[in-house]
């Protein structure tokens, strides 16, 4: 078989950018950045809004233990997103969906355990009172984490970006939920599952949309290169 010649456009692209690069650290190590983010965010929430009013009733385990579990689940999902962004490293769609399902089940279980341990702050209508403000604040906290996660995903130049984006978005949603657990004293399940859950869901959808946008950008670049190559071949002919 004759060797495949290096196309001139590819040779030119490589020659124009030959700066040395350092191999990326493992996805798990890069996801540690989100743990640092969680520590700073938790400190800010405590400094600005104080610890939830039923912390004594919940005890150390159901206050800080739940935070740690949700932050760990979120960071784990972000690590999976960063692995998915690297060719030949991703967990695959099945494992990713399983991880998302596991994190969702953990969220529901922790909400139920927290409710059993503390009635929390009683409100007139648990489904509507404080709901939008909780979702908004948790969403805002999550957005700052998402910005960090998105930068980490972008560094890997992902090609199957929608799954990476979905995992990163959901992961930052769980991270934000973990941090916000320190503040919100409403334990009623309808409040937690609907409003806190919707903040997680919105971040997951934001991540998915971010991934779709990255894929669309890649496809447009591919098309431009393809058109350029075709034009060059036409010119040579």
């Amino acid at each position: 078989m004759s060797p495949t010649p290096l196309p001139p456009a590819l040779r030119a692209a490589v020659a124009s950018d030959l700066r040395p690069v350092r191999p990326l650290a493992s996805p798990a190590r890069r996801a540690l950045a989100l743990l640092a983010w969680a520590a700073v965010a938790a400190a800010l929430v405590l400094a600005l809004r104080g610890l939830r009013s039923d912390a004594a009733e919940l005890g150390l385990l159901l206050t800080w233990g739940v935070v740690l579990a949700e932050v760990a689940a979120g960071a784990g999902l972000v690590a999976l997103a960063l692995a998915e962004a690297v060719p030949a490293r991703g967990p695959g769609r099945g494992a990713a969906l399983l991880a998302l399902g596991g994190a969702a089940a953990l969220f529901v279980a922790l909400a139920a355990v927290t409710r059993r341990a503390s009635r929390g702050m009683e409100v007139d209508d648990p489904l509507l009172s404080f709901g939008p403000s909780c979702a908004g604040l948790q969403g805002f906290i999550g957005l700052t984490a998402f910005a960090v996660a998105a930068l980490l995903v972008l560094r890997a130049a992902p090609m199957r970006a929608r799954l990476a984006g979905l995992l990163a978005g959901a992961g930052t949603g769980f991270l934000a939920e973990g941090v916000y657990h320190l503040d919100c004293p409403i334990t009623h399940l309808s409040h937690v599952l609907v409003w806190h859950g919707s903040a997680i869901l919105l971040l997951a959808l934001l991540g998915f949309g971010f991934g779709l946008a990255l894929e669309a950008r890649e496809r447009a670049r591919m098309e431009r290169r393809r058109a350029g190559t075709a034009a060059r071949k036409g010119g040579e002919g």
């Binding site: 495949t4 456009a9 894929e215 393809r226």
Partner: protein
Amino acid sequence: MVAYQGGDESAFESLYGELAGPVRAFLASLTRNAARADDLLQETFFHVHRARQTYDPTRSAKAWVYAIAHNVFLMACRTDRRRRRNEELPAEDLPDLPVPAEAESLASRDLVSRALATLPVDRREALLLHHVEGLSFQEVGAVLGVTTMAAKLRSHRAMGQLRELLAREGAR
């Protein structure tokens, strides 16, 4: 690959020289279109260059490049699907498919190649990556974004289907 990450252009040329042929054959087996395979080969190496920092020197460079080729193919499929579905080419334009050594004894090369072309793309990919390119099932799983077990299953099913097709052809 490590020299290339360090900025050595000739290392990229060596990588291209070593892998362009087999990756092109792999892409041709997926697209069934020689010209399209050439386009996607170039695109694959554009991505290799852009994502070179994601290569982990402790892992297989071959699996990493094939994963990029697989993703480039999927992206191209999405673009093509928007334009028109399944671009069919006249038979004389179809490139020869690489034939697994295990299947060579079953029938003539040409017959095996034609039978391979009728397999579903996901099974064909797993079969070719393992039996022709010599990737382990773990690497095949990583390339295709599925578990090692799923990669093994796809490859075994493809080989079974191939044997069946060839036996049917032989009986005629």
